[in-house]
């Protein structure tokens, strides 16, 4: 029942035209005080007050007349409303309107800042007028979106991607937001490294900061201190190697030993997800710090003076190894299980003994996985902020140095930018190496065909040390986590060891009064903010991630590889770098969101987006492509196919992405610490603040609470996903059930 006559009504086009006009004529053009969720402006002088006026009113009042040209691209698409989509004029007008509007909007946004024109040549051209503008608000954002999607509809009408509006718009949308919130801040930060104090650009200022002794000094060989860059590099390499070795031990213990409590070891994999990164550091202080239990015990035993050996390289190394070993384990368990048992069995039937089999077949097949685990450990260590902050002492690493350059007494944006560049260079190199390595080698031998074999046990000579390392480390991890819980109920660690719930009461007390519950605890503010921000960020992260995953797995378009690389890039950008670049980029118009909750939400979306993308890709590639195709041949368009076929089948992936991004938003610290404000304080930065005030009890009690909240979230997820999978039929028409 399709109308052979070509349609001349375009509901999507009409929607975006109306959106553009609404954004321009009705909504406040600039950012209103109190963030996006405040609607005070509705009753406070709207629409004539300058602060709340829509673009049209501003022009009418002769205020921001440079917004007037936007009326042209807003009006242009009205001309082609009645034209057919295949009419070349339709496509041309839409592309013109979209490109003009979007381009002009951005150009005016960047050229006119808080203090008038941003560029000297504009001042020269127009003189120094008394004009200024603020960050873009609802009106400007919706206008920009409208122009963007007019453009994509034009491009689609010209025949890109078979004229599929949804796919073209999705690509355009993802590219735009990734550019705005990943590439733009990074670029801005790179430029900041070249800016002198009086605002000019200079290579020498960059060079002087770059070749600073505090960055590259090699004094540690002569008894002094080494530069932060070398420290970071050295630490990251060590952490990479150690976590890989221990992770491999765990993986072997689980798959190739007769050890009985394998499930308990597998539970380790949950730990890094639910543990805020600096919590390990706190627990180590309780054990090995100046008044730590073990330190005190040995000091008493041997009558020696307790030392501060933990603070510095050793402490950070231990903490990071504890924190990141489960990640290496997670990677390696897949690899070790992926080695096809039949290969090993074949080797054995060819008269290799167990040790020879392991050495000549199993280990070489695992090698790419080992490299992958090493690089992940390397990147995580480089990017880690919490543990060095808590345990670093005089051992400077890049991530903390960046923090102190921005928030410390030195307040040197340029130096922060230079440090961030060095850090970014290290992590991107590792990221690139990882991709180049994995791109060339297929590292699993699982073919999807049934493989009935059983992994052989490890040879004796290997099993003993492997099990010793694995069990020893597991025990240590367990002790550390017990210490966290125990530490939260001790009055004052090392001084007064009596048990108390004081810290929990301080943090989470509530009073029930007549007008309801009063959240009197010190932590509630940051706790609710964290939950709210994480809850807002999670669905957005999942949505962006899944749409991106859909584009990557289901569509082919020019520049797809670059697109994928760009979206995965934020995986390799350390949080501190994101934090610094966001401060530098979003402190001024056109996007002025520092100090709001929006910037936190956005930073979480782009920090965690790769997780959503990965989850989406993994489960989408299990859905047969013929499902999409049959939906298309049945007359659904690609949006309807996405919504009615793909999304329902992806429910488990969506849930996983939701919970995972929620939990990660709660544990994140490195980017957050730059972006929080008095109004929007997050749990992790609150805890770090407590630690800096030596208020360990409260910090640990809060961390423990977070761990349990997140454990509950992850548990709930597993329950839900488990149930969903029972209801979801796995067949795709392939099997015959008779």
């Amino acid at each position: 029942m399709k109308n052979v006559q070509e349609k001349t009504t375009h509901p999507v086009l009409i929607f975006w035209i109306i959106a553009g006009w609404v954004g321009f004529c009705l909504l406040p053009w600039y950012m209103v005080d109190g963030g996006l969720w405040s609607f005070e402006w509705l009753f406070d002088g709207y629409p004539f007050d300058d602060d709340y006026a829509p673009g049209l009113f501003l022009i009418a009042q002769g205020e921001k007349i440079w917004l007037a040209p936007l009326l042209v691209p807003l009006a242009l698409p009205l001309l082609v409303l009645r034209r057919a989509k295949s009419d070349p004029l339709y496509a041309r007008v839409l592309i013109l309107a979209g490109a003009l509007g979007f381009g002009y909007l951005i150009a005016q946004g960047f050229s006119i800042g808080i203090r008038g024109f941003n560029f000297d040549w504009l001042k020269a051209l127009f003189g120094e007028p008394r004009i200024r503008q603020f960050g873009m608000g609802y009106g400007a954002m919706i206008c920009a979106a409208s122009f963007l999607f007019l453009l994509t509809q034009g491009v689609a009408a010209r025949g890109a991607i078979n004229g599929d509006v949804f796919v073209v718009s999705a690509i355009g949308g993802v590219i735009t937001i990734v550019t705005a919130f990943v590439f733009f801040p990074i670029a801005k930060m790179l430029f900041a490294a070249f800016i002198t104090e009086d605002g000019a650009y200079s290579i020498s200022i960059f060079a002087s900061k770059f070749f600073d002794d505090r960055l590259w000094g090699l004094g540690c060989f002569a008894g002094a201190r080494c530069g932060a860059a070398w420290n970071s590099l050295f630490l990251a390499v060590l952490v990479g190697i150690i976590t890989t070795v221990i992770g491999l031990c765990f993986a072997l213990a689980v798959t190739r030993s007769s050890f009985r409590y394998k499930r308990a070891i597998r539970a380790l994999t949950v730990l890094p997800i639910i543990t805020p990164p600096f919590v390990i550091g706190l627990a180590l202080i309780l054990l090995f710090g100046l008044s730590g239990s073990i330190t005190v015990f040995f000091a008493d035993l041997f009558g020696i003076q307790p030392t501060r050996w933990l603070y510095g390289m050793p402490g950070v190394l231990i903490a990071q190894t504890l924190a990141f070993t489960p990640i290496a384990f997670l990677v390696l368990i897949g690899v070790v299980e992926g080695v096809s048992p039949s290969m090993e069995e074949a080797a054995q039937t060819l008269r290799a003994n167990r040790w020879q089999t392991f050495r000549t077949v199993s280990l070489p097949l695992m090698r790419p996985g080992l490299a992958n685990a090493f690089l992940l450990g390397f990147i995580e260590s480089m990017a880690d902020f919490g543990n060095p902050l808590v345990l670093g002492g005089n051992f400077d690493v890049l991530s903390t140095e960046i923090f102190f350059a921005i928030v410390g007494a030195q307040y040197d944006q340029g130096r922060a930018a230079v440090l961030a560049m060095v850090l970014l260079f290290f992590t991107l190199s590792a990221f690139y190496a990882q991709r180049a390595w994995l791109g060339k080698k297929s590292y699993t031998t699982v073919t999807g065909k049934g493989d009935a074999g059983v992994h052989p046990l490890m040879p004796k000579g290997l099993a003993v040390p492997v099990m010793a390392v694995a069990l020893g480390w597991a025990l240590f991890t367990a002790v550390v986590y017990v210490m966290i819980i125990y530490g939260s109920v001790v009055e004052l660690w090392g001084v007064d060891n009596s048990l108390t719930f004081k810290h929990y009461v301080t943090a989470f007390s509530v009073r029930i009064e007549e007008e309801g519950i009063r959240w009197t605890g010190a932590a509630w503010d940051s706790f609710w903010t964290t939950i709210m921000i994480a809850a807002i960020a999670a669905p957005l992260t999942a949505a962006v991630g899944l749409v991106t995953a859909y584009l990557l797995t289901r569509q082919s378009f020019a520049g797809k590889n670059a697109f994928e690389f760009g979206t995965m890039l934020s995986f390799a950008i350390p949080g501190t770098v994101i934090g610094v670049s966001y401060i530098l980029a979003f402190n001024v118009p056109p996007i002025e969101i520092t100090g709001t909750g929006v910037i936190l939400v956005i930073s979480f979306i782009f920090r965690n987006m790769p997780v959503g993308v990965r989850a989406g890709i993994a489960s989408m590639s299990q859905l047969d492509k013929s499902l999409d195709e049959s939906s298309l041949t049945l007359g659904a368009n690609s949006w309807q196919t996405f919504r009615r076929v793909i999304l329902p089948l992806l429910r488990p992936a969506i849930l996983a992405a939701l919970v995972y991004s929620f939990v990660r938003a709660m544990t994140a610290i490195s980017a957050v610490i730059f972006l929080v404000s008095a109004r929007y304080d997050m749990a992790t930065s609150y805890i770090i603040g407590r630690v800096e005030n030596n208020d360990y009890g409260l910090a640990i009690a809060y961390s423990t609470t977070l761990i349990f909240v997140m454990l509950a979230a992850v548990g709930l997820l597993q329950l839900l996903v488990g149930r969903v999978q029972i209801g979801r039929r796995t067949q795709r028409g392939m099997e015959t059930t008779k």
Binding site: M1, K2, V4, G159, N162, G163, D164, D624, S626, L627, E629, S630, S631, L632, T633, L634, G635, A636, N637, S638, Q640, R644, V645, P648, L649, R728, R729, T730, Q731, R732, G733, M734, E735, T736, T737, K738
Partner: protein, 357 residues
Amino acid sequence: MSDALISSKAAPVRFEKVSKVFGKDVVAVDSLDLHVDAGKLVTLLGPSGCGKTTTLRMIAGLEMASSGRILIGDRDVTKLPATDRDVSMVFQSYALFPHMTVLENVMYGLTFSGFGKEEARSRALTGLNLVGLKGFDRRLPSELSGGQQQRVAVARALVLEPQVLLFDEPLSNLDAKLRRQVREDIRAIQQDLGLTVVYVTHDQEEALAVSDEIVVMRNAAIAQMGTPRQLYDAPNDRFVADFIGEANLLDCQIVSVDGDEATIDIDGFRHKLPSRGLPPGPATLAVRPSRLRIGTEEGIPATVAKATYVGVRMEYTLTGGFGQVFAVHDDVDQPLEPGAEIRMAFAEKGPVLLPQP
């Protein structure tokens, strides 16, 4: 059968010099000209990689032609995406949506075609009746057998009353017995409703059984097209002869041509048959195994190399100066023994002359 709720809007399909190139230089379909008449079932047949599935997907709009024109009915659909074409397709894997019931699956396309919910529902139920699945509407696809899933997929495509219905190897996931029945069902529905169907398979027996016309493809182009009987009895070349049914290909010499009749010589044995325009000289003789006469008075000397009893008949492998041939014989009671020296000749009808490759 149907209460006329499902009718046909069958339209012809025309390919004009259509090519499809993947990447830079992988030619999947090379300048194909094809015409499928309205209401006919045409099979695309060929070995894997010959371009038949790509051709089908270009009709569906799942692949876009690199050059050339595709018409469905009078309408040029070359640039139209799948959503906007009035074509539906039954997939090899059936591609039933696992999260929807049978009825929801069949209604899926109807809801996008502007039908109200009740109308869509009654049409879907009619469609299910048509394929013999009355009462299965509330089940999930996973609760059906393979053959039933297959029929749901057919019903889902049928109810849209498409101008063209496409089948992509629809029987390959069924067991041998079911295959025969389902293909007869498909053929019956197609003839009852007068649908235009394009059908892809690599099984020549299936193709012979269901088709009005068969298009044999090879290396991205059409090797031959015609009715099943034309292809079987008068293949154009060795490829088609060998691909459709089994054929023994023997080198022969055309000694003389008299009008339409040629006389050939193989190892001194002479045989008369239609010349098919070939001049005297070397040529190839294609003989179906059932068209070989074994143990005749006159004929080509041959030795029985192998004799196999397969129940309904005997199968022999014969060797001689011509090489090796495969023959079948209905006489199972007095089989020839391996090593026996015999003579063989050709049936009156059946053997055809092919040009020398």
